[in-house]
Symmetry: C2
Subunit: 199 residues, 2 copies
C-alpha cells in the first residue's frame, strides 16, 4: 500500500536532504501535513527563493544574493589579507571564532583530479589574478587537513611563490580541551613538528 | 556573522521539519545550494503540491487527493469491518503487516480534553453515524496503548455499545522477537491478563 501520489512525491523529494532516509521522510511528510501546513508553505517558498536568488560573490565566491557579498564590501575589514577556505560553512566557522578580520576566498571544493576538478573549477586562476590586481599582502591557507585540502594548499602556495606575497598555512595540532591520550597520531605528529619555543 | 537573507530564511524554514535543529538546517541549506539545486526545486514544488492537493478522505479521514480514498473505494476490501486508528502512519503500519482487509477510520489524533480535543474534533460523531448508516459488523479499536489512546478506545466502545455492533480491541502483550527480560511491567501485565488457553 502506498500513500496518495502527492504524499509519495513529497516523501521522495525530502530524500534529497542530507541525513534523511525513507523513515524520516515519511515522518516529516505526515508531520507537515497533519500539523504544520503553514511551515510547509513557508519552506516551499524559502527553497524556491534561495535557489533563484542565491549565487556566488563575484569577488570571493561565497554565497550571496548581491553581486559582491557583505564581507567583501565591508570597509572595516583588512583588505590586504585573504583567507582561502573550501566551503561557506568554513567561512562561518572562522567568523564565529572572531579571530580574523581579513577577507575570504571560497573554493567551493578542493582539487580532485580524479573527479575532473582542476584549478579552474575551484577558481584558482581567478584568485591568482585577484592576488596580483589587488596587491594582497598575505594569503592564509585554511583548507581542510585532508589529502585533497593539503594538495590544494600546496598547489596554491606553489603558484603564489613568485608573486611576492606572504603565504601561510593555519596551524594544525592538539585542539584546545583535547586530551593527548585521545588525539590521533597524525595530529600529534603535526603538533610536534609545529612546536614553538616557549618565550 | 550571518548568511545572506535568503539562506537565513531557508535555514529557519527547514527547522519546521521534525528532528531538524539549527546545525542540521545549516548543513541542509549549504548542501542543497552547493550540490542539489535541482532537488531543492523539486522539493519546493512537492511541498506546495502536497499542501494544496492533499486533504482528508470524506469517508475515513485518511490523507488523500481524492474525495474518497483508494482504500475506501476498493471493492475487494471487506466493508463490514472498520479499524479505528489515530494517524495515517498507523494505517500504513497495519497495511504493511498484510493482516487486515477491512476499511479504516483515521481519528487524526485522540481524545485530549486538556487540549480541547473532544469527540467532534476527532470525527467520532461522524464515525458513529457511519457505523449505523453502513451497517458495520465489527469495529476494531487500534488506537495506541497510551493513556489517551486507551481513553479514546473506551469512549468509542461505550458509544457503540448499544448499536448492535461487535467492538474489539487489538491485543497487547509481548512483541514477537521481544525478550521477556526487557519487556516493561505494564506490557507484561497486559500479556498475563490477556492470556489464552493453549489448544
Amino acid at each position: 500500500m502506498k500513500f496518495s501520489p502527492a504524499l509519495q512525491e513529497l516523501m521522495e523529494a525530502l530524500r534529497c536532504l542530507p541525513g534523511v532516509g525513507p523513515k524520516s521522510a515519511q515522518r516529516m511528510t505526515l508531520y507537515l501535513l497533519e500539523r504544520d501546513r503553514e511551515g510547509a508553505t513557508v519552506l516551499s517558498r524559502a527553497l524556491q527563493a534561495a535557489v533563484e536568488r542565491v549565487d556566488h560573490c563575484s569577488r570571493c565566491r561565497n554565497f550571496t544574493e548581491l553581486d559582491i557579498c557583505e564581507i567583501c564590501e565591508d570597509p572595516r575589514r583588512d583588505a590586504s589579507t585573504v583567507c582561502v577556505v573550501e566551503t561557506p560553512a568554513d567561512v562561518l566557522a572562522v567568523e564565529q571564532s572572531g579571530s580574523y578580520r581579513g577577507l575570504y576566498f571560497v573554493l567551493m571544493g578542493h582539487l580532485s583530479p580524479i573527479d575532473g576538478i582542476g584549478p579552474a573549477e575551484i577558481g584558482l586562476d581567478k584568485f591568482h589574478r585577484r592576488v596580483i590586481d589587488e596587491g594582497i599582502d598575505e594569503v592564509i591557507l585554511a583548507t581542510n587537513p585532508t589529502v585533497e585540502g593539503e594538495a590544494t594548499a600546496y598547489y596554491l602556495s606553489d603558484v603564489l611563490h613568485n608573486e611576492g606575497v606572504k603565504v601561510s598555512r593555519i596551524a594544525h595540532g592538539v585542539p584546545l580541551g583535547g586530551e593527548l591520550e585521545y588525539v590521533d597520531g597524525s595530529t600529534l605528529a603535526h603538533a610536534f613538528s609545529g612546536r614553538r619555543p616557549v618565550e
